[in-house]
Protein backbone atom coordinates (compact mmCIF):
# COMPACT_ATOMS: atom_id res chain seq x y z
CA UNK A 1 0.00 0.00 0.00
CA UNK A 2 1.37 3.36 -1.07
CA UNK A 3 -0.02 6.85 -1.55
CA UNK A 4 -1.41 6.13 -5.01
CA UNK A 5 -3.11 2.94 -3.87
CA UNK A 6 -4.54 4.69 -0.80
CA UNK A 7 -5.97 7.45 -2.97
CA UNK A 8 -7.37 4.89 -5.38
CA UNK A 9 -8.89 2.98 -2.50
CA UNK A 10 -10.59 6.07 -1.10
CA UNK A 11 -11.97 6.97 -4.53
CA UNK A 12 -13.21 3.44 -5.08
CA UNK A 13 -14.85 3.44 -1.65
CA UNK A 14 -16.52 6.77 -2.34
CA UNK A 15 -17.87 5.41 -5.62
CA UNK A 16 -19.13 2.26 -3.93
CA UNK A 17 -20.83 4.26 -1.18
CA UNK A 18 -22.47 6.50 -3.77
CA UNK A 19 -23.71 3.50 -5.72
CA UNK A 20 -24.94 1.59 -2.68
CA UNK A 21 -26.39 4.53 -0.76
CA UNK A 22 -29.99 3.40 -1.27
CA UNK A 23 -29.14 -0.09 -0.02
CA UNK A 24 -27.35 1.25 3.07
CA UNK A 25 -30.26 3.59 3.73
CA UNK A 26 -32.74 0.75 3.42
CA UNK A 27 -30.76 -1.49 5.79
CA UNK A 28 -30.42 1.34 8.32
CA UNK A 29 -34.11 2.18 8.01
CA UNK A 30 -35.01 -1.40 8.89
CA UNK A 31 -33.01 -1.59 12.14
CA UNK A 32 -31.68 1.92 12.66
CA UNK A 33 -32.54 5.47 11.71
CA UNK A 34 -32.07 5.46 7.97
CA UNK A 35 -29.05 7.72 7.68
CA UNK A 36 -26.10 5.38 7.22
CA UNK A 37 -26.06 5.82 3.44
CA UNK A 38 -26.29 9.61 3.50
CA UNK A 39 -23.81 9.81 6.40
CA UNK A 40 -21.14 7.92 4.46
CA UNK A 41 -21.88 9.70 1.22
CA UNK A 42 -21.44 13.06 2.87
CA UNK A 43 -18.28 11.80 4.55
CA UNK A 44 -16.60 10.34 1.49
CA UNK A 45 -17.48 13.32 -0.67
CA UNK A 46 -15.58 15.42 1.87
CA UNK A 47 -12.78 12.84 2.06
CA UNK A 48 -12.16 13.02 -1.68
CA UNK A 49 -12.08 16.80 -1.59
CA UNK A 50 -9.62 16.70 1.30
CA UNK A 51 -7.21 14.04 0.06
CA UNK A 52 -7.23 15.26 -3.54
CA UNK A 53 -6.04 18.61 -2.23
CA UNK A 54 -3.01 17.06 -0.50
CA UNK A 55 0.44 17.55 -2.03
CA UNK A 56 1.34 14.59 -4.27
CA UNK A 57 4.23 13.56 -2.01
CA UNK A 58 2.01 13.10 1.04
CA UNK A 59 2.94 9.82 2.72
CA UNK A 60 0.38 7.03 2.59
CA UNK A 61 -0.20 7.14 6.34
CA UNK A 62 -0.96 10.84 6.22
CA UNK A 63 -3.44 10.31 3.40
CA UNK A 64 -5.40 7.80 5.44
CA UNK A 65 -5.03 9.99 8.53
CA UNK A 66 -6.49 12.94 6.63
CA UNK A 67 -9.34 10.74 5.42
CA UNK A 68 -10.03 9.69 9.02
CA UNK A 69 -9.99 13.23 10.35
CA UNK A 70 -12.31 14.29 7.56
CA UNK A 71 -14.78 11.53 8.36
CA UNK A 72 -14.74 12.53 12.01
CA UNK A 73 -15.37 16.16 11.05
CA UNK A 74 -18.17 15.58 8.58
CA UNK A 75 -20.08 12.38 9.31
CA UNK A 76 -21.30 12.39 12.89
CA UNK A 77 -23.42 9.47 14.05
CA UNK A 78 -21.84 6.25 15.24
CA UNK A 79 -19.97 5.47 12.07
CA UNK A 80 -18.18 8.82 11.74
CA UNK A 81 -16.01 8.52 14.83
CA UNK A 82 -15.64 4.76 14.38
CA UNK A 83 -14.53 4.73 10.74
CA UNK A 84 -12.71 8.03 11.15
CA UNK A 85 -10.72 6.99 14.19
CA UNK A 86 -10.00 3.61 12.63
CA UNK A 87 -8.55 5.25 9.53
CA UNK A 88 -6.50 7.62 11.66
CA UNK A 89 -5.08 4.74 13.65
CA UNK A 90 -4.48 2.74 10.50
CA UNK A 91 -2.70 5.64 8.85
CA UNK A 92 -0.56 6.28 11.90
CA UNK A 93 0.52 2.64 11.92
CA UNK A 94 1.57 2.49 8.26
CA UNK A 95 5.28 2.75 7.47
CA UNK A 96 6.38 5.19 4.77
CA UNK A 97 6.56 5.30 1.80
CA UNK A 98 5.17 1.83 1.15
CA UNK A 99 3.60 -0.84 3.31
CA UNK A 100 3.61 -4.53 2.50
CA UNK A 101 0.67 -6.82 3.21
CA UNK A 102 1.89 -7.66 6.69
CA UNK A 103 2.21 -3.94 7.51
CA UNK A 104 -1.22 -3.24 6.08
CA UNK A 105 -2.81 -6.10 8.01
CA UNK A 106 -1.21 -4.91 11.24
CA UNK A 107 -2.28 -1.33 10.63
CA UNK A 108 -5.87 -2.35 9.90
CA UNK A 109 -5.82 -4.55 13.02
CA UNK A 110 -4.85 -1.42 14.94
CA UNK A 111 -7.74 0.41 13.29
CA UNK A 112 -10.10 -2.37 14.27
CA UNK A 113 -8.86 -2.15 17.87
CA UNK A 114 -9.75 1.52 17.87
CA UNK A 115 -13.28 0.70 16.70
CA UNK A 116 -13.59 -1.89 19.44
CA UNK A 117 -12.11 0.36 22.11
CA UNK A 118 -14.40 3.26 21.23
CA UNK A 119 -17.56 1.27 20.59
CA UNK A 120 -17.02 -1.67 22.90
CA UNK A 121 -18.35 -4.14 20.36
CA UNK A 122 -17.09 -7.70 19.98
CA UNK A 123 -17.70 -10.02 17.04
CA UNK A 124 -21.26 -11.27 17.15
CA UNK A 125 -22.72 -7.98 18.38
CA UNK A 126 -24.06 -7.28 14.86
CA UNK A 127 -21.89 -4.30 14.00
CA UNK A 128 -19.22 -3.30 11.51
CA UNK A 129 -16.84 -5.37 13.64
CA UNK A 130 -18.49 -8.51 12.25
CA UNK A 131 -17.20 -7.64 8.79
CA UNK A 132 -14.02 -5.83 9.81
CA UNK A 133 -12.61 -8.57 12.02
CA UNK A 134 -12.81 -11.45 9.49
CA UNK A 135 -11.44 -9.15 6.78
CA UNK A 136 -8.40 -8.27 8.85
CA UNK A 137 -7.96 -11.92 9.86
CA UNK A 138 -8.08 -12.93 6.18
CA UNK A 139 -5.43 -10.32 5.34
CA UNK A 140 -3.23 -11.57 8.15
CA UNK A 141 -3.58 -15.15 6.95
CA UNK A 142 -2.87 -14.13 3.36
CA UNK A 143 0.22 -12.21 4.43
CA UNK A 144 1.44 -15.25 6.37
CA UNK A 145 0.76 -17.44 3.34
CA UNK A 146 2.71 -15.08 1.12
CA UNK A 147 -0.16 -14.05 -1.16
CA UNK A 148 -0.03 -10.99 -3.39
CA UNK A 149 -1.88 -7.85 -2.36
CA UNK A 150 -4.38 -8.53 -5.14
CA UNK A 151 -5.07 -12.02 -3.80
CA UNK A 152 -5.01 -10.93 -0.16
CA UNK A 153 -7.39 -8.06 -0.68
CA UNK A 154 -9.78 -10.29 -2.60
CA UNK A 155 -9.79 -12.77 0.29
CA UNK A 156 -10.38 -9.94 2.77
CA UNK A 157 -13.28 -8.61 0.69
CA UNK A 158 -14.85 -12.05 0.55
CA UNK A 159 -14.43 -12.44 4.30
CA UNK A 160 -15.96 -9.05 4.95
CA UNK A 161 -18.91 -9.80 2.69
CA UNK A 162 -19.43 -13.16 4.39
CA UNK A 163 -19.16 -11.46 7.77
CA UNK A 164 -21.75 -8.89 6.74
CA UNK A 165 -24.14 -11.55 5.47
CA UNK A 166 -23.63 -13.51 8.67
CA UNK A 167 -24.97 -10.60 10.71
CA UNK A 168 -28.45 -11.36 9.38
CA UNK A 169 -29.42 -13.97 11.99
CA UNK A 170 -27.76 -12.12 14.86
CA UNK A 171 -29.54 -10.13 17.58
CA UNK A 172 -27.87 -6.72 17.87
CA UNK A 173 -26.16 -5.89 21.14
CA UNK A 174 -24.54 -2.59 20.17
CA UNK A 175 -25.62 0.50 18.28
CA UNK A 176 -29.08 1.59 17.43
CA UNK A 177 -30.21 -1.82 16.22
CA UNK A 178 -29.82 -3.16 19.77
CA UNK A 179 -32.93 -1.18 20.74
CA UNK A 180 -34.94 -3.58 18.63
CA UNK A 181 -33.80 -6.60 20.62
CA UNK A 182 -34.98 -9.79 18.92
CA UNK A 183 -36.65 -7.74 16.18
CA UNK A 184 -33.18 -6.94 14.85
CA UNK A 185 -32.85 -10.59 13.82
CA UNK A 186 -33.27 -11.22 10.10
CA UNK A 187 -31.70 -7.95 8.94
CA UNK A 188 -28.18 -7.33 7.71
CA UNK A 189 -26.20 -4.75 9.65
CA UNK A 190 -25.67 -1.54 7.66
CA UNK A 191 -22.23 -0.85 9.15
CA UNK A 192 -21.03 -4.37 8.41
CA UNK A 193 -22.33 -3.87 4.88
CA UNK A 194 -20.41 -0.63 4.39
CA UNK A 195 -17.29 -2.30 5.80
CA UNK A 196 -17.66 -4.97 3.13
CA UNK A 197 -17.85 -2.19 0.52
CA UNK A 198 -14.63 -0.75 1.94
CA UNK A 199 -12.73 -4.02 1.58
CA UNK A 200 -14.25 -4.77 -1.82
CA UNK A 201 -13.06 -1.32 -2.93
CA UNK A 202 -9.57 -2.19 -1.68
CA UNK A 203 -9.63 -5.43 -3.65
CA UNK A 204 -10.78 -3.64 -6.82
CA UNK A 205 -8.10 -0.99 -6.40
CA UNK A 206 -5.47 -3.68 -5.91
CA UNK A 207 -6.53 -5.12 -9.25
CA UNK A 208 -8.68 -8.04 -8.20
Amino acid sequence: MDTALALGWLHATAAAVEQHEPELTALDSAIGDGDHGSNLRRGFTAVLAAVDALPPDTPVGAVLGKAGTTLISTVGGACGPLYGSALRTTGAALPTPKADITDLAAALRAGLSTIQRLGGAVPGDKTMVDAFEPAVAALERAAFDGFSLREAAALAAEAAERGARDTVPLEARKGRASYLGPRSIGHQDPGATSTALLFRALARTAGA
Binding site: S38, L82, Y179, G181
Partner: protein
Protein backbone atom coordinates in the same frame (compact mmCIF):
# COMPACT_ATOMS: atom_id res chain seq x y z
CA UNK B 1 -42.20 12.39 0.64
CA UNK B 2 -43.60 15.91 0.77
CA UNK B 3 -41.55 18.27 2.86
CA UNK B 4 -40.98 21.98 3.20
CA UNK B 5 -37.33 21.79 2.24
CA UNK B 6 -35.13 22.97 -0.60
CA UNK B 7 -33.12 19.77 -0.87
CA UNK B 8 -32.31 16.90 1.49
CA UNK B 9 -28.68 18.02 1.56
CA UNK B 10 -29.41 21.60 2.59
CA UNK B 11 -31.93 20.92 5.36
CA UNK B 12 -29.63 21.79 8.24
CA UNK B 13 -28.07 24.87 6.64
CA UNK B 14 -31.46 26.22 5.55
CA UNK B 15 -32.94 25.63 8.99
CA UNK B 16 -30.00 27.42 10.61
CA UNK B 17 -30.65 30.39 8.33
CA UNK B 18 -34.24 30.40 9.56
CA UNK B 19 -33.28 30.07 13.21
CA UNK B 20 -30.87 32.95 12.81
CA UNK B 21 -33.53 35.13 11.20
CA UNK B 22 -36.24 34.19 13.70
CA UNK B 23 -34.17 34.65 16.85
CA UNK B 24 -32.13 37.84 16.84
CA UNK B 25 -31.63 37.23 20.57
CA UNK B 26 -29.43 34.23 19.67
CA UNK B 27 -26.14 34.11 17.80
CA UNK B 28 -26.07 31.53 15.07
CA UNK B 29 -22.67 30.58 13.70
CA UNK B 30 -23.85 29.07 10.45
CA UNK B 31 -20.37 28.02 9.29
CA UNK B 32 -19.59 26.20 12.52
CA UNK B 33 -23.21 25.08 12.92
CA UNK B 34 -23.56 26.27 16.47
CA UNK B 35 -26.40 28.20 18.10
CA UNK B 36 -25.30 30.43 20.96
CA UNK B 37 -26.60 32.83 23.53
CA UNK B 38 -25.72 36.30 22.32
CA UNK B 39 -22.90 38.15 24.04
CA UNK B 40 -19.99 35.72 23.95
CA UNK B 41 -18.47 33.73 26.83
CA UNK B 42 -19.61 34.66 30.32
CA UNK B 43 -16.56 34.87 32.58
CA UNK B 44 -16.99 32.69 35.64
CA UNK B 45 -20.12 30.95 34.38
CA UNK B 46 -20.11 27.25 33.58
CA UNK B 47 -21.06 26.72 29.93
CA UNK B 48 -23.83 24.19 29.33
CA UNK B 49 -23.62 22.72 25.85
CA UNK B 50 -25.95 20.24 24.27
CA UNK B 51 -26.49 18.85 20.83
CA UNK B 52 -27.74 15.96 18.80
CA UNK B 53 -29.24 15.15 15.46
CA UNK B 54 -31.59 17.63 13.86
CA UNK B 55 -35.23 16.70 13.49
CA UNK B 56 -36.05 16.96 17.21
CA UNK B 57 -36.82 20.68 17.27
CA UNK B 58 -37.26 22.66 19.47
CA UNK B 59 -34.57 20.43 21.04
CA UNK B 60 -31.83 21.70 21.30
CA UNK B 61 -31.65 25.13 19.64
CA UNK B 62 -34.98 26.10 21.18
CA UNK B 63 -33.51 25.75 24.65
CA UNK B 64 -30.57 28.11 24.18
CA UNK B 65 -30.83 31.20 26.33
CA UNK B 66 -30.56 32.50 29.87
CA UNK B 67 -31.36 29.76 32.36
CA UNK B 68 -30.79 26.83 30.02
CA UNK B 69 -28.16 26.20 27.35
CA UNK B 70 -25.20 28.33 26.35
CA UNK B 71 -24.89 26.52 23.05
CA UNK B 72 -26.59 23.90 20.94
CA UNK B 73 -24.87 21.87 18.21
CA UNK B 74 -27.30 20.38 15.69
CA UNK B 75 -26.09 17.49 13.59
CA UNK B 76 -27.52 16.42 10.28
CA UNK B 77 -31.04 15.01 10.52
CA UNK B 78 -31.05 12.19 13.10
CA UNK B 79 -27.24 12.23 13.11
CA UNK B 80 -25.17 13.39 16.05
CA UNK B 81 -23.06 16.52 15.64
CA UNK B 82 -19.38 16.17 14.82
CA UNK B 83 -16.60 17.00 17.30
CA UNK B 84 -15.68 20.17 15.38
CA UNK B 85 -19.06 21.69 16.16
CA UNK B 86 -18.73 20.87 19.83
CA UNK B 87 -15.24 22.33 19.96
CA UNK B 88 -16.47 25.50 18.28
CA UNK B 89 -19.24 25.69 20.89
CA UNK B 90 -16.74 25.23 23.70
CA UNK B 91 -14.49 27.98 22.34
CA UNK B 92 -17.43 30.33 21.95
CA UNK B 93 -18.85 29.80 25.43
CA UNK B 94 -16.07 28.78 27.81
CA UNK B 95 -15.89 31.44 30.47
CA UNK B 96 -13.11 29.73 32.37
CA UNK B 97 -15.39 27.97 34.84
CA UNK B 98 -15.64 24.76 32.86
CA UNK B 99 -17.99 23.12 30.43
CA UNK B 100 -20.81 20.64 30.92
CA UNK B 101 -22.04 18.54 28.01
CA UNK B 102 -25.59 17.20 27.98
CA UNK B 103 -25.48 14.06 25.86
CA UNK B 104 -28.33 11.77 24.95
CA UNK B 105 -27.24 8.17 25.23
CA UNK B 106 -26.77 7.02 21.65
CA UNK B 107 -23.56 5.46 20.41
CA UNK B 108 -23.02 8.22 17.86
CA UNK B 109 -23.68 11.06 20.27
CA UNK B 110 -21.57 9.52 23.00
CA UNK B 111 -18.61 8.97 20.66
CA UNK B 112 -18.68 12.41 19.05
CA UNK B 113 -19.02 14.24 22.36
CA UNK B 114 -16.27 12.02 23.80
CA UNK B 115 -13.87 12.83 20.97
CA UNK B 116 -14.63 16.52 21.44
CA UNK B 117 -14.04 16.29 25.18
CA UNK B 118 -10.70 14.57 24.56
CA UNK B 119 -9.67 17.32 22.14
CA UNK B 120 -10.82 20.01 24.58
CA UNK B 121 -8.78 18.39 27.33
CA UNK B 122 -5.72 18.79 25.08
CA UNK B 123 -6.55 22.53 25.09
CA UNK B 124 -6.72 22.43 28.88
CA UNK B 125 -10.48 22.72 29.08
CA UNK B 126 -12.13 20.23 31.37
CA UNK B 127 -15.49 18.95 30.12
CA UNK B 128 -17.97 17.08 32.28
CA UNK B 129 -20.71 15.06 30.70
CA UNK B 130 -24.28 14.39 31.79
CA UNK B 131 -25.59 11.34 30.00
CA UNK B 132 -29.35 11.29 29.51
CA UNK B 133 -30.84 7.80 29.45
CA UNK B 134 -34.49 7.86 30.41
CA UNK B 135 -36.19 5.64 27.85
CA UNK B 136 -37.50 2.51 29.55
CA UNK B 137 -38.43 0.94 26.22
CA UNK B 138 -34.81 -0.17 26.11
CA UNK B 139 -33.51 -2.44 28.81
CA UNK B 140 -30.54 -1.04 30.64
CA UNK B 141 -27.53 -3.33 30.53
CA UNK B 142 -23.80 -2.99 30.28
CA UNK B 143 -23.86 -5.46 27.41
CA UNK B 144 -25.91 -3.25 25.14
CA UNK B 145 -25.99 0.40 24.15
CA UNK B 146 -28.18 1.00 27.21
CA UNK B 147 -31.29 3.13 27.65
CA UNK B 148 -31.73 5.97 25.18
CA UNK B 149 -31.98 9.64 26.00
CA UNK B 150 -35.34 11.16 25.07
CA UNK B 151 -37.84 13.50 26.77
CA UNK B 152 -35.87 13.85 30.00
CA UNK B 153 -33.34 15.91 28.08
CA UNK B 154 -35.59 18.94 28.58
CA UNK B 155 -35.61 18.41 32.34
CA UNK B 156 -31.86 17.82 32.42
CA UNK B 157 -31.09 20.91 30.36
CA UNK B 158 -33.41 22.98 32.57
CA UNK B 159 -31.86 21.71 35.80
CA UNK B 160 -28.25 22.01 34.66
CA UNK B 161 -28.95 25.39 33.07
CA UNK B 162 -30.55 26.72 36.25
CA UNK B 163 -27.57 25.77 38.40
CA UNK B 164 -25.13 27.21 35.88
CA UNK B 165 -27.11 30.45 35.70
CA UNK B 166 -27.06 30.62 39.48
CA UNK B 167 -23.28 30.48 39.53
CA UNK B 168 -22.83 26.80 40.35
CA UNK B 169 -19.54 25.04 39.75
CA UNK B 170 -19.10 22.60 36.90
CA UNK B 171 -19.44 19.73 39.37
CA UNK B 172 -22.68 21.20 40.71
CA UNK B 173 -24.08 21.79 37.26
CA UNK B 174 -23.31 18.24 36.21
CA UNK B 175 -24.73 16.89 39.46
CA UNK B 176 -28.00 18.75 38.89
CA UNK B 177 -28.24 17.32 35.40
CA UNK B 178 -27.55 13.84 36.69
CA UNK B 179 -30.14 14.28 39.43
CA UNK B 180 -32.76 15.25 36.86
CA UNK B 181 -31.84 12.34 34.65
CA UNK B 182 -31.87 9.80 37.47
CA UNK B 183 -35.32 10.99 38.51
CA UNK B 184 -36.79 10.69 34.99
CA UNK B 185 -38.17 7.86 32.90
CA UNK B 186 -39.87 7.99 29.50
CA UNK B 187 -41.71 5.86 26.98
CA UNK B 188 -43.00 6.67 23.50
CA UNK B 189 -45.72 5.41 21.18
CA UNK B 190 -45.75 6.07 17.44
CA UNK B 191 -48.91 6.17 15.33
CA UNK B 192 -46.95 6.77 12.15
CA UNK B 193 -43.27 6.73 11.18
CA UNK B 194 -40.91 9.60 10.44
CA UNK B 195 -39.45 10.22 7.00
CA UNK B 196 -35.80 11.27 6.93
CA UNK B 197 -35.43 13.72 4.01
CA UNK B 198 -32.28 12.01 2.70
CA UNK B 199 -33.95 8.60 2.84
CA UNK B 200 -37.10 9.84 1.14
CA UNK B 201 -39.32 7.13 2.56
CA UNK B 202 -40.80 6.39 6.00
CA UNK B 203 -38.47 4.61 8.43
CA UNK B 204 -40.98 1.82 8.91
CA UNK B 205 -44.40 0.77 7.73
CA UNK B 206 -47.23 0.73 10.18
CA UNK B 207 -50.65 -0.66 9.31
CA UNK B 208 -53.67 1.58 9.92
CA UNK B 209 -54.68 -0.42 12.99
CA UNK B 210 -51.33 -0.74 14.74
CA UNK B 211 -48.97 1.37 16.84
CA UNK B 212 -45.26 1.04 17.61
CA UNK B 213 -44.71 0.78 21.34
CA UNK B 214 -41.38 1.97 22.69
CA UNK B 215 -40.38 3.79 19.55
CA UNK B 216 -37.20 5.87 19.50
CA UNK B 217 -36.91 9.51 18.54
CA UNK B 218 -34.82 8.78 15.45
CA UNK B 219 -37.41 6.84 13.57
CA UNK B 220 -36.07 3.65 15.10
CA UNK B 221 -38.92 1.15 15.23
CA UNK B 222 -40.04 0.23 18.72
CA UNK B 223 -39.80 -2.99 20.64
CA UNK B 224 -43.16 -4.26 19.52
CA UNK B 225 -46.32 -3.56 17.63
CA UNK B 226 -49.70 -3.53 19.23
CA UNK B 227 -53.22 -2.86 18.04
CA UNK B 228 -54.31 0.77 17.93
CA UNK B 229 -56.55 1.56 20.88
CA UNK B 230 -58.29 4.42 22.65
CA UNK B 231 -56.10 7.17 24.08
CA UNK B 232 -57.07 5.99 27.55
CA UNK B 233 -55.68 2.50 26.99
CA UNK B 234 -52.51 3.66 25.28
CA UNK B 235 -51.91 6.09 28.13
CA UNK B 236 -52.37 3.29 30.64
CA UNK B 237 -49.88 1.09 28.82
CA UNK B 238 -47.33 3.89 28.76
CA UNK B 239 -47.82 4.88 32.40
CA UNK B 240 -47.44 1.26 33.47
CA UNK B 241 -44.32 0.76 31.36
CA UNK B 242 -42.71 3.75 33.03
CA UNK B 243 -43.80 3.03 36.59
CA UNK B 244 -42.45 -0.53 36.29
CA UNK B 245 -38.98 1.02 35.92
CA UNK B 246 -39.38 4.00 38.20
CA UNK B 247 -39.14 4.68 41.91
CA UNK B 248 -42.26 6.87 41.72
CA UNK B 249 -44.91 5.63 44.14
CA UNK B 250 -48.03 6.79 45.91
CA UNK B 251 -47.44 10.02 47.76
CA UNK B 252 -44.72 11.20 45.40
CA UNK B 253 -44.79 14.33 43.30
CA UNK B 254 -43.92 14.37 39.63
CA UNK B 255 -43.14 16.65 36.73
CA UNK B 256 -45.07 15.34 33.72
CA UNK B 257 -44.12 15.93 30.09
CA UNK B 258 -46.61 14.80 27.47
CA UNK B 259 -44.58 15.38 24.35
CA UNK B 260 -45.71 15.33 20.75
CA UNK B 261 -43.48 13.51 18.29
CA UNK B 262 -43.98 16.09 15.56
CA UNK B 263 -47.20 15.43 13.68
CA UNK B 264 -49.63 15.05 16.56
CA UNK B 265 -52.19 17.80 17.13
CA UNK B 266 -52.01 19.55 20.48
CA UNK B 267 -55.69 18.67 20.90
CA UNK B 268 -54.73 14.99 21.06
CA UNK B 269 -51.82 15.66 23.41
CA UNK B 270 -54.23 17.31 25.82
CA UNK B 271 -56.49 14.27 25.64
CA UNK B 272 -53.50 12.07 26.49
CA UNK B 273 -52.53 14.42 29.31
CA UNK B 274 -56.02 14.14 30.75
CA UNK B 275 -55.77 10.35 30.77
CA UNK B 276 -52.26 10.38 32.26
CA UNK B 277 -53.38 12.73 34.98
CA UNK B 278 -56.31 10.46 35.86
CA UNK B 279 -54.05 7.39 35.90
CA UNK B 280 -51.50 9.06 38.15
CA UNK B 281 -54.24 10.26 40.49
CA UNK B 282 -55.50 6.68 40.79
CA UNK B 283 -52.00 5.65 41.82
CA UNK B 284 -51.70 8.41 44.39
CA UNK B 285 -49.02 10.29 42.45
CA UNK B 286 -49.44 14.05 42.43
CA UNK B 287 -48.64 16.17 39.39
CA UNK B 288 -46.54 19.06 40.63
CA UNK B 289 -45.66 20.58 37.25
CA UNK B 290 -46.48 19.75 33.68
CA UNK B 291 -45.66 20.47 30.08
CA UNK B 292 -47.80 19.54 27.08
CA UNK B 293 -46.63 20.10 23.53
CA UNK B 294 -43.87 19.47 21.03
CA UNK B 295 -40.54 19.55 22.84
CA UNK B 296 -38.54 16.52 21.67
CA UNK B 297 -39.89 15.65 18.27
CA UNK B 298 -39.07 13.09 15.67
CA UNK B 299 -39.63 14.95 12.39
CA UNK B 300 -43.11 14.13 11.12
CA UNK B 301 -43.74 11.14 13.35
CA UNK B 302 -47.23 11.01 14.88
CA UNK B 303 -47.52 9.86 18.46
CA UNK B 304 -46.42 10.95 21.89
CA UNK B 305 -43.92 10.30 24.59
CA UNK B 306 -44.46 10.52 28.30
CA UNK B 307 -41.73 11.56 30.71
CA UNK B 308 -42.25 11.32 34.46
CA UNK B 309 -39.71 13.01 36.70
CA UNK B 310 -39.88 12.25 40.39
CA UNK B 311 -39.78 15.72 41.84
CA UNK B 312 -38.27 16.78 45.13
CA UNK B 313 -37.98 20.35 46.36
CA UNK B 314 -34.61 20.76 44.69
CA UNK B 315 -35.77 19.64 41.25
CA UNK B 316 -38.91 21.76 41.47
CA UNK B 317 -36.82 24.78 42.38
CA UNK B 318 -34.60 24.19 39.33
CA UNK B 319 -37.63 23.55 37.14
CA UNK B 320 -39.22 26.80 38.26
CA UNK B 321 -36.05 28.87 37.94
CA UNK B 322 -36.17 31.68 35.38
CA UNK B 323 -35.45 30.78 31.78
CA UNK B 324 -35.75 32.70 28.58
CA UNK B 325 -35.36 30.54 25.52
CA UNK B 326 -37.38 30.27 22.31
CA UNK B 327 -39.22 27.17 23.51
CA UNK B 328 -39.30 27.50 27.29
CA UNK B 329 -39.86 30.66 29.25
CA UNK B 330 -40.09 31.14 32.98
CA UNK B 331 -40.55 34.55 34.53
Amino acid sequence: MKKLINSPESVLDDALAGIAAAHPELTVDRAARVILRAGGPRPGKVAVISGGGSGHEPLHAGFVGPGMLDAACPGEVFTSPVPDQLLAAIRATDGGAGVVFVVKNYTGDVLNFQLAAELAAEDGIEVRTVLVNDDVAVKDSTWTAGRRGTGATVVVEKAAGAVAEGGGTAAEVAAAGQLANAASRSFAVALSPATVPAAGRPGFDLPQDEVELGVGIHGEPGRRRAPMRAARELAAEVVDAILAEHTLTAGDETIVLVNGLGATPLLELYIVFGEVSALLAERGIRIARSLVGNYVTSLDMAGFSLTLTKADARLLELWDAPASTPALRRP
